[in-house]
C-alpha cells in the first residue's frame, strides 16, 4: 500500500455523509482556492488544496464525494471509497476529518465508526450544533470523544466558531502520527457483514443515549422562546426518535401533497424553464453582439488575408459560440442551486421517480435531464449522482434528446420563416408546440430504447431510490454563487477547447482551397463585397464538396447540398446553422439586417436544376423535426465518451439519433406532401 510519507507533506482527507457541511468546511480551510483531480480511469473528481497559510498547517487537503458508509454499492461509490483507502496519486490519508450533522448523530455516526474500526486516524467535526441548540440540546464533546477514542470538535460553519480547536486537534494528531508507525488499514470487504451493521448501530444508540445533554439553564430561557416560536417538539426521553422539524413537515403537507404537490412541481419547473430562456436571452444577445463587434473590428483594421480570417471567423467566432451559452448555464445553475439548497430538489426527484421508473429511469435522472434543456454538457456531468450504473448510462444516453438552447436560434429562424408576418403570436404557440413535441418524443424514444437496454448498457444491478429529504431552509446565497461559479468554469474548460477546436476545423473546411475568390464588385459597398467573397469562397470549399457528397441523402427529404453544408457546420455547435445558411445563400446585407434579409433570400431560394422553391413549408417543418432528434454536437459526443468510459455509447447515440432524425424528417416531409402541403 502506498502511503503518503512518500510525499513531502501529510495528506488530510475530508469525508462525510451528504448534507453534513463537508464542503463548507473544505471551503473554510482551503479559502476556495482549489483544483480538481481525477481518480484515474474514472470520472469521480476530487478537489484538492493546500490548507490556508493562516492556519499554519503544512498539509494537502482532499475533499471527497459524500458517502454514508464505507461499504461501496455502486461503481462510483467504490471508486470514492477506494481512493480513501489508497489514492493512486495521493496515497492513503494520514488523517481523516469527518463532518457529522449533530441533529442526525444516530445516522451519521456510522461512517466515523467504520473509519475508526478500519484503522484510520479520525477527527470528528460536529456541525449544525446551532440547530440542535434550538431544540434545547447539545452534545458533550468530551463524552463522545471518550466513547469513540478520537478527537471531537464542534464547528459552526457560518460563524467559523470552533475553527481554532479544529486546527489545534489537527496539529496534535499530525504530530502524534509523525512519531508512531503507520497504522494498518483494514480493507472494507471485511466490514461487509449485514449483522455487523446492526451491531454498529446498537453501539451508536448506546453512545447517543449518553452524549446528548440539555443546554445550560441560563441559555435555555432564551432558547425556550425560540422553541415556542419554531414549535419544535423536544423530549429528552426520545432522543433517538427526533421528529423532523415541524416547519418542514408542514411545508411538505403542501409540497408533497398528492394533488397540490404535483401542481406546484409543474409550476416550479415551468418557471425554471421560462427564466432559463427569457432572463438569459438579453444576456446572450449581449455576448453575441460583443463577439460580432470584435469580429468586425478585426476585419476592418487588418488586411484581408487568410490569417485575418483565421482570427476573426475561426478564433473569435469559435470563442463566441462557447461563451454565448454561459449566461444560460449560469442562470440554470443559480436556479438549481437555490432549489437544491432550499431542499426542494430532492422532493422533485421523489415526485417524478414513479413516472421515470416506468421508462427505465430513476428519480435521480431528473436534475440531469432538466439541465439538458440548457446544455447537454453540464447535464451529462450531473448524471454522476445516479448510483445505479445502468440508469446513469441510460440517462446520459437520452440527454441529447432534451431540447438544448443551441436549437433555439434555429427554431426561431424557421418559425419566423413559416408564420405570416401579421400574426407574430403564432410563433410562441409554435415554439411551445416544438418543446411539447420534443418532450413527448423523448419519452417515446426512451421507452423504446429501454426495451434494448440490456444490450446497449450491459450493466445490471437492481434499481433503487432511497433519498434523504433535507429540512427546508433559506438557501445560502454564497454557497449557490460558489457552486454556480465552479460549474460554469467546468463547462468552459470542458466544452470550450472542443467547440473552439471544431470551429477551427470547420473554418478550414469552409475557407480552403479557394482563398482568393473573384467577385463582381461594381455597385456594391465594401461590406457587401466581403459577404459576396465569403459566399463565393464557401461555394468552392472543401465543405461544399462534402455537402455535394451528401446530396443524394438530402433530395429524399426535399433539401439540397446547400442545406447539407449548413447541417455539417452545425456539428460544431447547432446555432452555427443560422450563420452558415446566410453564407450559403449569399446574403449580401450588413449585419443589422441579416435576419430579415436572410428570410427573404430563403424565400427566393430555388432548387438547382428544377427551379422549384427550396424552402417550402414541408421542408422547413422537416428541418425543425431534424433538429429535434439529431445529435449534432461534437462536444456532447466527447463528454459522453469521457463520462461513459468508452466509445460504444457516444457512437450509438450519434448513429441512432441521426438516423432517427433523418427518418422522422423523411416521414414528415413526404407525409406533408401526401396531404398536399408542399
Amino acid at each position: 500500500m502506498i502511503t503518503s510519507t512518500d510525499l513531502k507533506d501529510p495528506l488530510i482527507t475530508l469525508v462525510g455523509p451528504p448534507n453534513s457541511g463537508k464542503t463548507t468546511l473544505f471551503n473554510l480551510l482551503s479559502g476556495k482556492n482549489y483544483k480538481t483531480v481525477n481518480y484515474p480511469g474514472s470520472t469521480v473528481e476530487y478537489y484538492t488544496s493546500r490548507i490556508l497559510s493562516k492556519f499554519n498547517i503544512k498539509a494537502e487537503l482532499v475533499d471527497s464525494p459524500g458517502i454514508v458508509s464505507l461499504i461501496p454499492e455502486s461503481i462510483d461509490e467504490k471508486v470514492a471509497v477506494d481512493s480513501l483507502y489508497s489514492h493512486p496519486k495521493l496515497g492513503t490519508p494520514d488523517l481523516v476529518i469527518t463532518t457529522i450533522d449533530s441533529c442526525q448523530l444516530s445516522r451519521h455516526l456510522l461512517l466515523p465508526k467504520q473509519l475508526i474500526s478500519a484503522g484510520f486516524n479520525v477527527i470528528i467535526v460536529l456541525t449544525m450544533t446551532d440547530i440542535l441548540a434550538k431544540r434545547g440540546l447539545k452534545i458533550s464533546e468530551r463524552k463522545l470523544s471518550k466513547a469513540l477514542n478520537c478527537d471531537v470538535v464542534v464547528l459552526n460553519g457560518r460563524s467559523k466558531q470552533g475553527i481554532e480547536n479544529l486546527i489545534q486537534a489537527t496539529n496534535s494528531n499530525l504530530e502524534r502520527i509523525g512519531v508512531t508507525d503507520k497504522k494498518n488499514i483494514i480493507p472494507y470487504n471485511s466490514l461487509k457483514n449485514r449483522k455487523d451493521l446492526i451491531d454498529t448501530f446498537k453501539e451508536i444508540e448506546e453512545i447517543i443515549n449518553d452524549v446528548y445533554e440539555n443546554v445550560r439553564e441560563d441559555e435555555k430561557i432564551y432558547l425556550n422562546s425560540a422553541n415556542r416560536e419554531l414549535k419544535i417538539l423536544q423530549d429528552g426521553a426520545t432522543i433517538n426518535g427526533f421528529t423532523p422539524d415541524e416547519i418542514t413537515l408542514k411545508i411538505d403537507r403542501v409540497l408533497l401533497h398528492r394533488f397540490w404537490g404535483f401542481l406546484v412541481f409543474i409550476v416550479v419547473m415551468g418557471l425554471t424553464f421560462t427564466s432559463i430562456f427569457w432572463i438569459a436571452q438579453p444576456l446572450m444577445d449581449l455576448v453575441d453582439e460583443l463577439f460580432t463587434n470584435l469580429n468586425s473590428l478585426v476585419l476592418e483594421n487588418f488586411e484581408p488575408g487568410w490569417f485575418t480570417f483565421l482570427v476573426s471567423d475561426g478564433i473569435i467566432s469559435g470563442a463566441g459560440s462557447v461563451l454565448v451559452f454561459v449566461p444560460q448555464i449560469i442562470i440554470l445553475f443559480v436556479i438549481l442551486g437555490l432549489l437544491e439548497d432550499s431542499g426542494y430538489l430532492a422532493r422533485g426527484a421523489m415526485l417524478i421517480d414513479k413516472p421515470l421508473s416506468k421508462i427505465g429511469l430513476n428519480g435521480r435522472s431528473f436534475v440531469p435531464m432538466l439541465s439538458g434543456f440548457a446544455c447537454a454538457i453540464p447535464a451529462i456531468i450531473a448524471a454522476r449522482t445516479i448510483p445505479n450504473r445502468k440508469e446513469r448510462l441510460f440517462t446520459i444516453f437520452i440527454i441529447p434528446l432534451m431540447s438544448c438552447s443551441a436549437r433555439l436560434p434555429v427554431y426561431a429562424l424557421l418559425i419566423a420563416y413559416l408564420i405570416p408576418r401579421d400574426k407574430p403570436w403564432l410563433g410562441g404557440i409554435l415554439l411551445g408546440g416544438i418543446y411539447f413535441f420534443s418532450i413527448v418524443s423523448s419519452i417515446v424514444v426512451a421507452w423504446i430504447i429501454n426495451k434494448f437496454s440490456k444490450r446497449i448498457f450491459s450493466a445490471e444491478g437492481s434499481s433503487s431510490f432511497i433519498l434523504e429529504l433535507p429540512s427546508y431552509r433559506v438557501p445560502k446565497i454564497s454557497a449557490v454563487i460558489n457552486h454556480t461559479y465552479n460549474s460554469s468554469k467546468e463547462y468552459i474548460l470542458r466544452a470550450g477547447p472542443m467547440i473552439l477546436g471544431f470551429s477551427l476545423v470547420l473554418w478550414f473546411l469552409t475557407f480552403f482551397p479557394n482563398i482568393d475568390p473573384q467577385v463582381e464588385t461594381e455597385g456594391f459597398t465594401s461590406g457587401q463585397i466581403q459577404n459576396l467573397e465569403r459566399a463565393e469562397r464557401l461555394e468552392h470549399s472543401y465543405a461544399s464538396d462534402l455537402g455535394k457528397l451528401i446530396q443524394p441523402f438530402m433530395s429524399p427529404i426535399g433539401m439540397d447540398w446547400r442545406i447539407g453544408v449548413s447541417l455539417i457546420s452545425a456539428f460544431a455547435a447547432r446555432e452555427v446553422f443560422v450563420s452558415s445558411l446566410s453564407l450559403t445563400f449569399k446574403v449580401t446585407s450588413e449585419d443589422d439586417e441579416e435576419h430579415s434579409t436572410l428570410l427573404s433570400s430563403l424565400r427566393n431560394a430555388k432548387k438547382e436544376g428544377t427551379g422549384e422553391k427550396l424552402f417550402t413549408v414541408a421542408t422547413s417543418i422537416g428541418l425543425i423535426v431534424f433538429f429535434i432528434f439529431a445529435l449534432q454536437c461534437l462536444s456532447t459526443v466527447a463528454v459522453s465518451r469521457k463520462e461513459t468510459g468508452g466509445w460504444k455509447i457516444p457512437l450509438l447515440q450519434v448513429f441512432i439519433f441521426t438516423a432517427l432524425a433523418y427518418l422522422m424528417t423523411f416521414i414528415t416531409v413526404n407525409g406533408l406532401r401526401f396531404f398536399g402541403i408542399q
Binding site: 454514508v68 458508509s69 461499504i71 454499492e73 441533529c103 442526525q104 444516530s106 445516522r107 456510522l110 449485514r194 451493521l197 446492526i198 448501530f201 446498537k202 444508540e205 433517538n240 426518535g241 427526533f242 421528529t243 423532523p244 418542514t248 413537515l249 411538505d252 403537507r253 408533497l256 401533497h257 398528492r258 394533488f259 404537490g261 404535483f262 430532492a346 422532493r347 426527484a349 421523489m350 415526485l351 421517480d353 414513479k354 413516472p355 421508473s357 428519480g363 437492481s462 433503487s464 431510490f465 432511497i466 433519498l467 434523504e468 429529504l469 429540512s471
Partner: protein, 73 residues
C-alpha cells in the same frame, strides 16, 4: 407480517427486522433503518410511490418495493 410499505398516512410502526435477501437491504440499513427503531409514514408521492418515512429524525424518500423489506412488529 406488515411492512413499512403498508403503513397508512401518518401511521407509526416499530421495525422488527430487515429482509436481508433484498438487494437494497444494506443501503436501507445504512440510512438508519435497524430493528427497534420507530418509523412514521409522513407522506406519499402523487403516484403513491415513493413514500417519505421519518427515521431517526430525518425524512427519507424510499420506493415501496424497497420499503417492503422493512418488517414491522
Amino acid at each position: 407480517m406488515r411492512t413499512a410499505a403498508e403503513l397508512n398516512y401518518r401511521e407509526k410502526g416499530i421495525i422488527s427486522e430487515i429482509d436481508f435477501s433484498h438487494p437494497s437491504s444494506k443501503r436501507i440499513m445504512e440510512h438508519g433503518f435497524t430493528p427497534g427503531q420507530t418509523i412514521e409514514l409522513i407522506c406519499k408521492s402523487t403516484f403513491n410511490d415513493p413514500i417519505a418515512i421519518s427515521i431517526r429524525g430525518t425524512l427519507i424518500a424510499i420506493r415501496k418495493s424497497e420499503a417492503g423489506c422493512i418488517k414491522l412488529k
